[in-house]
C-alpha cells in the first residue's frame, strides 16, 4: 500500500484591487492523504504543490547563484531598486509660456511613500550681444510624502505645490527611491496658467 499525497485544486480568492495581493491563503485545507492501491511504485519525493512561484535563475556579480522571484505578496517597495517614470513633454498652448503651480496625485494607498517629482522645462534666454535667443533646459525638483499607514487600498488625492515654474516643453518625472515605499498612481494632473498672448 502506498501513501500518496494528492493535491486538490487550489482555491483562488477574488482579486480585491489593482496591484495588490489578496491576503493570506484560504483556510480551506488544499490537500489530503489518499491511499491508491493501484500504484505499485512509490514516488521519489515530490512537492505539496500548494502554490506557485516564478523562478528566475540569477547569479550575482560574485558568481553566487540564486532563485529569485517578483513577489507581490512581499509588496511593492523594493529596497534595492528605485522606480522612475517620465511623462510626455507638454505644451499647454503651442508657443505660449505656461506657469506650473501644482501637481496633483491620485493613488491607491498602499502605505507611506517618499517621492521626488521633477519638472524639466525650456526657457529662452536672450543673447543681447548677438541679438538672438538661445533655448535653455532647466529643472525644478520637489520632494513629497504621500499615503497613509491606515485606510490601505483607499483612493487618495494629494496636491503637491511647486515653486512657480515658467517655461515651455515641460516634462514631469516621478522617482520612488529604493525603499521609499509602495506607490500606485491612478491619475496625475499638472495644473497652472498659460499666457493668453495673441500673435
Amino acid at each position: 500500500m502506498t501513501d500518496i499525497i494528492t493535491p486538490f485544486p487550489i482555491p483562488r480568492p477574488t482579486p480585491k484591487g489593482p496591484g495588490t495581493p489578496t491576503g493570506p491563503p484560504s483556510p480551506f485545507s488544499p490537500f489530503s492523504y489518499v491511499y491508491n492501491k493501484n500504484v505499485a511504485t512509490t514516488s521519489n519525493g515530490g512537492v505539496n504543490a500548494l502554490t506557485t512561484a516564478d523562478l528566475y535563475p540569477m547569479v550575482d556579480l560574485n558568481g553566487n547563484a540564486y532563485f529569485y522571484t517578483f513577489d507581490p505578496t512581499q509588496g511593492y517597495d523594493d529596497i534595492y531598486a528605485a522606480s522612475t517614470h517620465f511623462f510626455r513633454v507638454e505644451d499647454a498652448q503651442p508657443y505660449r509660456v505656461p506657469t506650473i503651480r501644482w501637481v496633483t496625485l491620485t493613488y491607491i494607498n498602499l502605505g507611506i511613500c517618499n517621492l521626488t517629482l521633477t519638472i524639466t522645462y525650456c526657457t529662452i534666454v536672450p543673447d543681447e550681444k548677438l541679438g538672438t535667443e538661445a533655448p535653455q533646459i532647466n529643472s525644478q525638483t520637489v520632494k513629497a510624502i504621500i499615503g497613509s499607514a491606515t485606510n490601505l487600498k483607499s483612493i487618495m488625492t494629494q496636491r503637491i505645490a511647486f515653486p512657480v515654474i515658467s517655461g515651455m516643453n515641460f516634462q514631469l518625472s516621478i522617482v520612488r527611491p529604493a525603499g521609499g515605499g509602495p506607490l500606485s498612481l491612478t491619475k496625475v494632473t499638472i495644473a497652472g496658467t498659460v499666457e493668453d498672448a495673441k500673435y
Binding site: 512561484a53 535563475p57 540569477m58 522571484t69 531598486a81 498652448q93
Partner: protein
C-alpha cells in the same frame, strides 16, 4: 497679458499605453511614456513593481542554474526540478526552512554550461536536453534520471537544443549527435587480390568507407579511411565489400575506436510513435529525421501548437504538421526559405503560453498563434533591439501567467543581461503595453519558469 488656467491629466485610457521610445517625447499619446523603470501598468494603475526577492537557495551555490520546471508523475505526485551542469535536482516537499538547502541531487548526464535546458513532460515522465548529445528521462520514481536516446549500437545517441512533443512523439530540433564506434585506426589484415589504386570499399556491414592507395600484384598494401562510420568495435579481419573495381578478399583489422560529436543545426529528429525511448529509425521505422537541407539557415527555436509545430529558423519559419503516416509522420512546409526574412534570431527569446507565443526577428517582435501573426514591439521595439546589441549574456524569455493568491499578470517577460544588471522588458498580453524592470547586481542565467512548491 491675461493668463488662462490649464490642467493636464495623465491616466489609463482605458489602459496605460506603456513605453514608447520611438516617437519624439512631445508627440506621444498622453498615456505613453518615453522612459519608465520598475513600474507596472497592471489594472490601469501606475504601480511600483513587486519586490524581487530570493525564493530559494540554489542546488549548487557556485553553479549557474540552467532551468527549472514541474511535472506530474504516474502517481499524481508533482515534482519540481532544477538543472545545473552536474545534472538534475528536485525540490524537497518542505522547502521553506531558512538556511536549509531545499534541493535533493538526483544525478543524470552532465549538461552544457550556459544553455537553458529544454524539457518536456510526456506520459508522466520528464524528458530534457540542452545541447548535449543525449535526451535524459526521469519518471519521478527512480533514484536517478537516465539517458534514453541511444541509437541501435547502444552507445551512439542523439540530443539537441530544443525538445518538444508532437503527434505522440518526442521531437528534437537542432540535433547534436554522439557518433560512437568510429574507426580511429586500422591496418590491412589480408590484402586480397585484383585491386587497383583508387578502388573503393565499405568495411563490414557498417558505413565506414576506404580507398585503396597502394597495391602489390593486386593485393592491397595501403589505403585511407574516407568515412570513419559509426557502430564499430575493435575487431580483427573485418571483410570489406568493393564498391568500385573487381578486387576481393581484403580484410582489415580495426585497432582503435573513437567517437565524435556531430552538430546538425538544421536537423529535426523524432522518436518512434508513442515510444520516447526509441530514436533509431533502423530499430523502429516510425522514428526518423529530416535535415531540412532546402533551407539556408539554422534552427533557433520551436513552438508546438498542438495541431502542428512552428520550427523557427534565423530567417524563416517552417511548419511541421503530422501526416498520420508511420513512415513519413511529418510534413515540412517552409513559409519562406529566403536568405533574409522573418525568423527568430534570439534562440531563447521564444516563449509560449497555450495556443500562442512570442518570438523576435531581426526587425520586430511578433505574437503568433495558430492562425495569426501580430507585431507587438510598438514604440518599445527600438529600446529592446538596442539592448540586444549590447547584451553581455544570452537574452531569455518566459510568459508569466499568475502569481500566488490569484495575482494575475499575463506578461511576456524578456530578460537581457547587461553587464552588472538584468533589464526585463514586460509586455502585457491583455493591455498590450511594454514596461521595463531592472534587477541591479543580478544577471539571469536561464529561462525563468513558474513552478509548484
Amino acid at each position: 497679458m491675461a493668463n488662462e488656467p490649464f490642467e493636464i491629466s495623465y491616466g489609463a485610457n482605458p489602459t496605460w499605453k506603456g513605453l514608447n521610445v520611438e516617437a519624439p517625447a512631445d508627440l506621444l499619446d498622453i498615456s505613453h511614456t518615453p522612459s519608465t523603470t520598475n513600474f507596472q501598468f497592471r489594472n490601469a494603475a501606475l504601480t511600483s513593481r513587486p519586490v524581487f526577492t530570493k525564493v530559494f537557495l540554489t542546488p549548487e551555490p557556485s553553479a549557474p542554474i540552467l532551468g527549472a520546471g514541474s511535472f506530474l508523475d504516474q502517481n499524481g505526485v508533482t515534482h519540481t526540478v532544477a538543472f545545473t551542469v552536474n545534472g538534475l535536482y528536485q525540490l524537497r516537499p518542505i522547502n521553506n526552512i531558512p538556511g536549509k538547502n531545499p534541493w535533493v541531487y538526483l544525478g543524470g548526464a552532465s549538461l552544457v554550461p550556459g544553455i537553458s535546458v529544454s524539457w518536456q513532460p510526456f506520459v508522466n515522465n520528464l524528458y530534457y536536453t540542452n545541447g548535449s548529445p543525449q535526451v535524459s528521462q526521469w519518471d519521478g520514481i527512480a533514484n536517478a534520471p537516465k539517458v534514453i536516446s541511444y541509437l541501435a549500437d547502444g552507445q551512439s545517441s542523439v540530443g539537441g537544443l530544443y525538445l518538444f512533443e508532437l503527434a505522440s512523439r518526442l521531437v528534437l530540433a537542432y540535433v547534436v549527435q554522439l557518433a560512437f564506434g568510429q574507426i580511429a585506426a586500422s591496418a590491412v589484415d589480408s590484402g586480397g587480390a585484383g585491386y587497383n589504386v583508387g578502388d573503393t570499399f565499405t568495411i563490414g556491414s557498417g558505413t565506414a568507407t576506404g580507398q585503396v592507395t597502394e597495391t602489390t600484384s593486386g593485393a592491397v598494401t595501403g589505403y585511407t579511411i574516407t568515412n570513419a562510420g559509426t557502430g564499430y568495435t575493435d575487431a580483427a579481419g573485418v571483410l570489406t565489400n568493393a564498391t568500385s573495381g573487381t578486387g576481393t578478399g581484403l580484410t582489415i583489422t580495426i585497432t582503435a575506436i573513437g567517437s565524435s560529436i556531430v552538430t546538425q543545426p538544421q536537423t529535426i529528429w523524432w522518436s518512434a510513435n508513442g515510444l520516447p525511448n526509441v530514436w533509431d529509425p533502423t530499430v523502429n521505422t516510425s522514428a526518423g529525421y529530416n535535415p531540412l537541407l532546402d533551407t539556408p539557415d539554422i534552427i533557433t527555436g520551436v513552438m508546438a501548437l498542438g495541431e502542428f509545430a512552428l520550427i523557427f529558423r534565423t530567417n524563416g519559419i517552417t511548419q511541421m504538421s503530422p501526416t498520420g503516416s508511420a513512415l513519413a509522420p511529418f510534413e515540412f512546409d517552409h513559409m519562406w526559405a529566403s536568405n533574409k526574412g522573418i525568423g527568430n534570431v534570439y534562440p531563447f527569446s521564444i516563449a509560449q503560453y497555450g495556443s500562442f507565443g512570442i518570438f523576435i526577428s531581426t526587425e520586430q517582435i511578433f505574437q503568433v498563434s495558430i492562425n495569426s501573426f501580430m507585431e507587438i514591439g510598438g514604440g518599445a521595439r527600438d529600446a529592446i533591439m538596442a539592448d540586444f546589441a549590447i547584451a553581455t549574456g544570452t537574452p531569455v524569455a518566459y510568459i508569466s501567467s499568475s502569481n500566488p493568491f490569484g495575482y494575475v499578470y499575463l506578461t511576456y517577460r524578456l530578460s537581457i543581461p547587461l553587464g552588472t544588471f538584468t533589464r526585463h522588458y514586460l509586455y502585457s498580453i491583455e493591455d498590450k503595453n511594454w514596461t521595463v524592470w531592472e534587477t541591479n547586481g543580478l544577471l539571469i542565467t536561464a529561462k525563468p519558469y513558474g513552478v509548484w512548491r
